[in-house]
């Protein structure tokens, strides 16, 4: 199996799907001639041409609005928003149109739309360019929200997203593009809305996704040296949320820590913990703990930024706290 980077995996998925289906096209800021701000679409413009790799103005509302229209008209747009922080400019299009057109028009239109965007902090880009507001999008029925934590999942899930007839917010983490991992050759598809156990263990269930999957796996390795075996469940999709593997794991370990990069208040940890208490209260042997970003606008200063973001040590400490 080939070991490639997350960037290559995403790039392969796009390439393969564009080769496979000529209705698939890319639009966004600097995606064409420049090859993408994160170099994901390098070479696409030359190969697929300006019609299928379209540079747009710096106007996120326009990007998503035009993508909505194209999707309604039968194309399969992959709209790129340079960072998720800019998605707020397109919020009306995403929330009031992408998420709702299918149901508000009685199913007359499908919206086979993917919004690829980049989230997460840790690169000293300042408070407004470093956010992890993934759960904001997961709040809205009508959207699917996917956020892979490994190159293999990134490729398989993006291909599924492009083939989905529903609007999908596909969130890539800015610090994971260089992450290497095994990716099967050829046409791999990972189902949207299926969580995956990324590491097996009997002592505690860590629930996480995206960048925090990597953080949690490192924490699990560290804990293993103390004889604590953590099971790490990767949600991969925030909506629809597949809690089944989490529940099964929790019923075995009786302890859970939820790790997310975004802020804790009203976050993923609250949602998952609530569902565990609702559906598996009698299996809890300790209060469920949450690890999340400190409740501040993310500092630019590198030391402070790292202190504010969840670190391996934070996860280790939380796990010890539930044992």
């Amino acid at each position: 199996m080939a070991v490639i980077t997350m960037r290559e995996a995403i790039s392969q998925a796009l390439w393969e799907e564009m080769e496979r289906d000529e209705r698939v096209f890319i639009m966004g800021e600097e995606v064409g001639v420049w090859g993408g701000s994160y170099a994901v679409t390098k070479g696409f413009y030359d190969h697929f041409g300006p019609k299928r790799v379209r540079d747009t103005p710096i106007a996120e509302g326009v990007i998503v609005g035009a993508a909505n229209g194209a999707a309604m008209a039968g194309l399969r747009p992959v709209a790129e928003l340079m960072t998720i922080n800019f998605a707020f400019l397109a919020m009306d299009q995403i929330v009031n149109h992408s998420a709702k057109l299918h149901s508000m028009f009685g199913g007359q239109f499908a919206l086979p739309l993917v919004i690829r965007t980049v989230g997460g902090g840790g690169r000293q880009l300042g408070a407004t360019h470093s956010q992890t507001p993934d759960v904001v999008f997961a709040h809205f029925p009508g959207l699917k929200v996917v956020a892979p934590g490994t190159p293999g999942d990134a490729k398989g899930l993006l291909k599924s997203a492009i083939r989905s007839d529903d609007p999908v917010i596909f969130i890539e983490h800015a610090t994971l593009y260089q992450l290497r991992g095994e990716v099967p050759e050829g046409q791999i598809l990972e189902p949207i809305g299926v969580s995956k156990i990324q590491r097996q263990g009997e002592d505690v269930t860590i629930v996480t996704y995206s960048k925090m999957l990597q953080t949690s796996l490192l924490a699990a390795d560290q804990l293993a040296k103390e004889g604590i075996e953590a099971e790490v469940v990767d949600l991969r999709t925030l909506r629809p949320l597949d809690l089944k593997p989490v529940l099964e794991s929790f019923k075995r370990t009786n302890r859970a820590v939820i790790v997310e990069e975004g802020w804790q208040s009203y976050g993923l940890g609250a949602e998952v913990a609530a569902r565990l208490y609702e559906q598996a209260f009698d299996y809890a042997d300790a209060p469920i703990r949450r690890v999340a970003q400190k409740e501040v606008p993310l500092p630019y200063n590198r030391t402070l930024e790292q202190l504010a973001l969840p670190q391996v040590e934070d996860v280790v400490r939380a796990v010890r706290g539930v044992l």
Partner: protein, 404 residues
């Protein structure tokens, strides 16, 4: 004006009470005299009334929690005012029994201070801290959580403690015929402690007398024929009245030993022992010497009903100066009771039986009832006890004076 409600003292030896149920929830209005909360003492569950009218601003103690008497349990006040719990003295604290006043305000809030959020009170003795999983496993295996030492944070009982307990303990319940181990209930434990104390510390003496109950039974029959249904008097009601009248003449038997002093009580309050499923309770008929049979009968009947429903009021069970224990309904000859401290004496009543008796040289069928007085020799003695029994006999054998 905010007022703090404290854990009331509902019995002379009550040290702590368990909050069973908040009858009035936070934000709910309560009028003075309405039931605010149910408190479980060692002996019974008691409905405690609000001493003032107001809105329940805050519960300071969770249901199921035990706290010492005098501990603030709630704040009543105006729904609009802001609360400073610290200045109200309502922050959780330990307090000595001397300072405890049932449901009385202890301080007044200064208005317009910012509201203070209290840390939730630590679970006190009586409430077992256990994880949901541990609770479920314990329930499934029939284990008593209170008997298991918790190894989790703050002594929380967790799964590994249950597993350890399962390895040590045989199953608590088995098929018919097998030995069972049942934890001692709170009431049973209290009775045990108090009776052990009484038997060890009170020098008992006992005097038994046989009383001719023929006239009493005849009078009772006539009396009850005149009473509305459900208001019939029991033999015990007549005994309570007779004992009370006799006690009025013998203050040493209506007394308590307190240190170097004998307290001769001004009131004659006769406790009536009531058998409950989980143990024994004494309900108190106050001023029984001054009450009619009808009133004694109705009061005692109501108190017993409340006791059996677990709804006794504080007044129902405190303040007795003498007790009567009656096992007559079980067809027993006679028995001997243990003095119920701090009282000085108790009267045990046997069944009224038909027996051959000698009257004027003839053997005839008579009705006899044996009573046994148990008394504290530190307070009284055999001669006094015997004279008291004579007076009691007089009352019961010429029972008309009991209804006059």
């Amino acid at each position: 004006m905010a007022e703090v409600v404290t854990m009331p003292k509902l019995g002379f030896d009550m040290a702590e009470g368990r909050l069973v149920r908040w009858v009035k929830s936070e934000g709910e209005a309560v009028r003075k005299g309405e039931v605010l909360v149910e408190i479980e003492t060692d002996k019974a569950t008691v409905e405690v009334e609000a001493a003032v009218s107001g809105t329940v601003r805050k519960h300071l103690v969770n249901e199921g929690t035990s706290v010492p008497i005098g501990t603030p349990i709630a704040v009543l006040g105006d729904p609009e005012e802001s609360l400073d719990l610290e200045s109200l003295g309502a922050a959780p604290r330990a307090s000595s029994p001397e300072t405890a006043v049932p449901s009385r305000p202890v301080a007044v809030a200064e208005p317009s201070r910012p509201a203070l959020i209290l840390p939730s009170p630590e679970p006190a003795a009586g409430q077992v801290k256990a994880s949901p999983l541990a609770r479920r496993l314990a329930a499934e295996r029939g284990l008593d959580l209170a008997a298991i030492a918790g190894s989790g944070p703050g002594g929380r009982v967790v799964k590994r403690d249950i597993q350890a307990a399962l390895q040590d303990t045989p199953p608590a319940s088995g098929p018919v015929g097998e030995t069972e181990r049942i934890p001692v209930s709170k009431l049973r434990g209290l009775i045990g402690r108090r009776m052990t104390q009484a038997k060890q510390q009170v020098p008992h003496f006992y005097i038994t007398a046989e009383i001719d109950a023929g006239r009493l039974m005849a009078l009772r029959q006539e009396w009850n024929a005149l009473q509305p249904e459900g208001h019939e008097a029991s033999v015990n009601d007549f005994v309570v009245k007779a004992a009370a009248l006799a006690l009025r003449q013998f203050p040493n038997l209506n007394a308590s030993l307190e240190g170097q002093e004998i307290v001769r009580h001004g009131q004659v309050n006769v406790g009536v022992a009531v058998a409950l499923e989980e143990g024994l309770l004494t309900v108190v008929c106050r001023d029984a010497d001054r009450k009619s049979i009808r009133l004694i009968s109705d009061e005692v009947r109501e108190m017993i009903a409340r006791a059996r429903q677990g709804k006794v009021r504080p007044d129902d069970i405190q303040g007795s100066t003498f007790s009567v224990s009656n096992l007559g309904m079980f067809d027993i000859d006679h028995f001997i009771a243990i003095v119920n401290p701090p009282e000085a004496a108790i009267l045990a009543i046997g069944s009224v039986r038909q027996e051959p008796v000698v009257e004027k040289g003839q053997v005839v069928i008579g009705q006899r009832m044996k009573v046994t007085l148990s008394a504290d020799h530190r307070v009284t003695d055999g001669a006094e006890g015997a004279r008291w029994l004579q007076v009691l006999r007089g009352c019961l054998e010429k029972p008309l004076q009991l209804i006059l």
